[in-house]
Amino acid sequence: MPQPLSSKENSLFRQVIRNYEEKQYKRGLKAAEQILKKNPKHGDTLAMKALIINSLGKTDEAFALAKEALTADMKSHICWHVYGLLYRHQKNFEEAIKAYKFALKLEPGSPQIQRDLAYLQAQMRDFQGYIQSRTAMLQSKSQLRQNWTALAVAHHLAGDLVQAEKVLTTYEESLKSPPSHTDYENSEALIALEHLESIAKHNLDRLAVLELRAEYLAKLGKKDAAVKAYRALLDRNSEHPEYYNGLTEAMGLDGGDTSARKAVYDEYAKSNPRCDAAKRLPLDFLTGNDFRDAAKLYLTLMLDKGVPSTFANLKHLYTDPFKKETLESLAHEYVKAKESQSGDESPAEGELKGIPAGLYYLAQHYNYHLSRDLAKALEFVDRGLGLVPGTVEFHMTKARIWKHYGNTRKAAEIMDQARNLDLKDRYINTKAAKYQLRNNETAKALKTMSLFTRNDSPGGPLHDLIDMQSIWYLTEDGEASVRNGLIGLALKRFHAVYNIFDVWQEDQFDFHSFSLRKGQIRAYVDMVRWEDKLREHPFYTRAALGAIAAYLGIHDSKLVVNGVNGSTNGAADDEAEKKKVLKKAKKEAQKAEREAAEQAAKQDPNKAKAATSENVKKDDDPLGLKLASNDQPLVEATKFLLPILQFSPKNIDGQVAGFEVYIRREKYLLALHCLNAALAIDPANPVVHEQTVRFRQEINLKLASLPAKVAEVIKTEFTAIDASTDLKKYNADFLKKHKESAAHVVSAVKIRKLLGEDQKACEKALFDVLSLKTEDWEPAAEAHGLLLQWRSGEAEAFRKAAGETWPEVTAFNPPPAPPASS
C-alpha cells in the first residue's frame, strides 16, 4: 500500500525521482532526507534513496536500505522495482526478474516495470516470458508499430516463425494504408520473416532481396530467371564465390564440363580487369594441363604486378599434390625466365615486382607446412634480400622461417628488424611484439606495443590493451608468463580475457531496445543467435585452456607440498626438501613478477604524472598473486572449463582438460564423460591413451568405495579398457604400435612410470625420442620437462643431446644467462 504523504512531501518525492533521472544525486538525496525526517518509515522514499546511493557506488549500503524499504512497505511496487534494479545493476538477472515480476503484480499497468522486465527476459533468453511481456505491452499500446514488431521478434526468437508472421499480418491488415516505402522498420521485419516476394519493392536492403530472390528462383528450378539474378549479383560484387557457384549451377554447368564453367569466369575476368576472383577461382576446379596454363597466367600476372600476397591467395591449392608441384615449378620457371630476359635493370627498393616477387613466392612456398624445406626457404629469402635489402616482406618471412625452426630468439630479432623498416605500420609492429612474446620477452613486447597504444591513462599501454579488448595480446602474454613461471601474472591475463567475454555478453543488453527502435531486426536476430554461443569462439577456448592448465599446476604443486600424493619413497626429509624447493621457486617467481612490474612501470612515460582519471579503479592485485594463491584452484578451473564443454564439445583439448579437472575433483562420472568424448574425437591421441589407463587404474582402486549407482554407470560406460586388463601389457602394446611417433613414446613412458616402473628405465626410454629423427621437436621438449619434473640427473644431458639434434631450437639452446647481479 502506498503510504500517504502530505502534498508538500508528495511534490518533494516527485523531485527525488526527477533528480535521480537527471543524475542530480546530491540534490535528490537531500530531498529524500527531508521526507524521511518526518516519515522515517516511508518505503518509497527509502527505496529511491537506495537507488541514488547505489548510483554513487555504495552498493552494499543500497541493498541494506532497499531491504529496509521493503520491510516498511511490502506492498509498494516502487520498492520492488528498485530492488530489481539493484539486482540488475549487480548483474544478478534472475533475482532482478523475480523482483520486477513482484512489482508488476502490484502495479500491472506500469509500462516502465514492464519494459525493464521484458529486456531482462530477452537478455536471459526467457523467450516465453518475453512473449508474455511483449503481448502485454502491445495490448496497452497497440497503435505503436514497434510493439507489433517486437512481439513478432519475440516469437521469432522463441523459434515460432508461424506465430511471428501471424502477428505481422494481423498488423498490416489493421492498417488502413500500406506502410510507406521509406519505412525501414517494417521492411526489415518483413524480410526477416521471409515475406520476400510481396515486399521486395519496398525493401531498402537491396542486396538481401537480390540474394534471397536468386536463391528462391534456383530452388524453384526457374533456371533462366536464376541465371539473371546471379548475374545481377555478380555485377555488384564479383569477389563473392557463392555467386559464381549459384550462376554456374543455374546454368547447369556444375557437372564435368570444366571448360564451359571456366568460360563463365573468363567472361567476368574480361569485363572486369580488376577482378581477382574470376581469374583465381577456376584454379580450384581445373586439373592437368588446363590447371597448369591457368596457373601460369595467374602467377605471371600477379608477380609482374608485384602483389606480395600472391602466395596467400594460392596456398589453399597445396592440398592437391599436383597443384603444389605445378605451382612450385611455375614459380621457378618464372624466375629463370625473368633472369634471362632482364639485363642490368635492378628492381626498385621496397618493390616486389618480377624477380623479387618470384623469389618471395618461393621463399613462402618452402616455408609452408605442406611444402616445407626451411633451408631452401632461407636460401630464397637471402637471394631476395640480396636484390631488395630493405623489404619488410622478406624480413617478415625470414623471421617466420626461424620460428618454424623453433628458434624463437632469432625469429624475434628479425621480426624486429622488419618492424624497423616500416615504423608507421602497426601490422608489422604487432608481429614484432608477438614474436617477442613467443620468445618470452614480455617486457620488451609491451614496450613494442606501446608505440601504437594510447599511453595517457594511468594504467599505461597495458590498460589501453585491456580497455580495447586486445585478446590476442592478453593471451600471448599469459602464455609467455606461464613459460616464464609467472603463474599469477598469467592468470591475471587469462582472467582479463574471461572478463572481456562477460562484457561482450553484457554488451547486447542495450540492443534489445535499441534495435527495435532502429528497426534493423535481421541484424539483431543474427546478433542474438551469435551471442547465444559467444564462448564457442577459439579466443575464449585458448585463454581458458591456459587458465585451466595453470590452476591444475597450482593444485598439483599443493599436493606435492602436502604430500597428499602418496609420495612413493615417503621419506620425511624428502618432503621437506620438496617444500623448500617449492618455497624457493615461489619466492623467485614473486621477485621476478615484482621486477617485471617495476620495469613495466618505468617504461610508462606517464606513470610519474598523478593519476588523472578518478574513474580508473586501482588494481589491487596487478601481479595476480591473489589469483595464484586461490585455495580452490579446481573450482576456478571448472569455471573456465564449463563454457568449453558446453560450446566446444568437439574440441579435444577441452575434453582432455575436463578429464584432468574432474579426476582431481574425484567426479568420476564427469571425468569419464570427457574421456569418452575425447576417445570419440581421436582414439589414437597419446594423451587420451594416458588418461584411459589412469582412469582404469584409479577406478579399480576406488570402485568399491563409490556409491553403487555411480559404480554401475562407470562399469557400463567405461569400455575402453576392461577391468581385468594388464595395464603394463596394454601400455607396451600401445608403444609398439606407435613407436615411430615421439608424442606417443613420451606418453607411454609417462604411463610406465605411473605403473611403478623404475625411474632410471623410464629416463632411458625418454632418450629414444631423440633417435626418432623427426622435425617436430615439441615432444622432446615435453620429455625434457618430464625429466625436470622428476628431478632427474639426466635432464641436462637430455637437453644437450636435444640441442644437437635440433641446433636451432631456442628451448634446447638457451642464450647464456645474463650476469646474475642487476
Binding site: T182, Y184, K201, L204, D205, R206, L207, A208, R236, N237, E239, H240, R274, D276, A277, R280, G306, P308, S309, A312, H316, T319, V392, M396, K424, D425, Y427, I428, T430, T453, D456, D464, M468, Q469, S470, I471, W472, Y473, V503, D507, Q508, F509, D510, F511, S513, F514, S515, R517, K518, Q520, A523, Y524, D526, M527, W530, H537, P538, F539, K650, N651
Partner: protein, 221 residues
C-alpha cells in the same frame, strides 16, 4: 578471398584485424553499434581457403570496412562515413580495400540515400591516400590539425555519390521496373522523424549505445 557483408559473429576477428593494423581501436560494443544500426554498410574480406584447426574456427577476416551514416549531419545532408578500414599486410595490394569501399558506397546510396561519403586519413598514410584519391576519386576537403591522438593531422576527404545514384537509376530503367524511383531514393534525403526521436532516448546503462558515439569522437579530439 570472399568479399561479403559483415555478420555479427565476425566482430571478434574484425576487432582483431583492427588492433593488428591501426592505432584507432574500439571496443566490441562500438562494432555492434555499427552492425546493428547500418548492417548493410560494413563489409569484410574473408580468407576462405584457410584449413580449419578446430571445428569451431570462425571465418578468418583479412580485411574490413566499418561504415556508418552520419546521425546528425551538420550540413543537413544525408551522408555516410568510413569509421575504419584496414587489410592485413599479408593480403595487401590485392585490391581488397578498393572492393570493400565500393560495396559500402553502393549500399550507402541504395539503403540510406546517402549523397556523399566522408572519411579521415592521416596525412602521412600514402597507401590510403592513393586508394582514396586516385583509385576511388575522393576529394581532399580540408586538413584537420592534430586530429589523431598522437598529434598527427588528418585530411578530411569526401566522395560525391551521385554517379552511383545515376547508375542505380539507369539500372532500374533498364530493368523496366515500375518502381520509377530507384530503391533507396525514397530512403530519405531528410531524416525520417523517428530517427531524430531516437537521439533523445537514453539507453539506460553506464555506457549506452549513444554514449559510444561520443566516446569515439572524443577519441580523436
Amino acid at each position: 578471398m570472399d568479399i561479403r557483408r559483415l555478420e555479427p559473429r565476425d566482430i571478434p576477428l574484425i576487432q582483431h584485424a583492427n588492433l593488428e593494423n591501426l592505432p584507432e581501436n574500439y571496443f566490441m560494443k562500438y562494432y555492434l553499434y555499427h552492425a546493428l544500426s547500418w548492417p548493410q554498410l560494413s563489409y569484410v574480406a574473408v580468407d576462405v581457403s584457410r584449413p580449419k584447426k578446430t571445428p569451431y574456427d570462425y571465418p578468418k577476416i583479412v580485411g574490413y570496412v566499418l561504415a556508418k551514416m552520419e546521425e546528425e549531419p551538420t550540413d543537413g545532408v544525408q551522408h555516410g562515413h568510413i569509421t575504419s578500414l584496414s587489410v592485413m599486410r599479408t593480403h595487401r595490394r590485392l585490391g581488397i580495400a578498393e572492393k570493400l569501399m565500393r560495396q559500402s558506397q553502393l549500399a550507402m546510396v541504395e539503403t540510406f540515400g546517402a549523397q556523399y561519403v566522408s572519411l579521415h586519413v592521416r596525412v602521412s598514410n600514402k597507401a590510403a591516400i592513393h586508394l582514396y584519391t586516385k583509385t576511388l576519386g575522393f576529394d581532399q576537403d580540408k586538413t584537420e590539425s592534430s586530429y589523431y591522438a598522437d598529434g598527427e593531422d588528418a585530411y578530411s576527404m569526401r566522395l560525391d555519390l551521385s554517379t552511383i545514384r545515376e547508375q542505380i537509376r539507369d539500372a532500374a530503367d533498364a530493368e523496366g521496373v515500375d518502381e520509377g524511383e530507384p530503391v533507396g531514393e525514397a530512403g530519405s534525403k531528410t531524416l525520417p522523424v523517428r530517427e531524430k526521436d531516437l537521439k533523445k532516448v537514453k539507453v539506460g546503462r553506464g555506457l549506452g549505445v549513444q554514449a559510444l558515439v561520443e566516446k569515439d569522437e572524443s577519441k580523436h579530439s
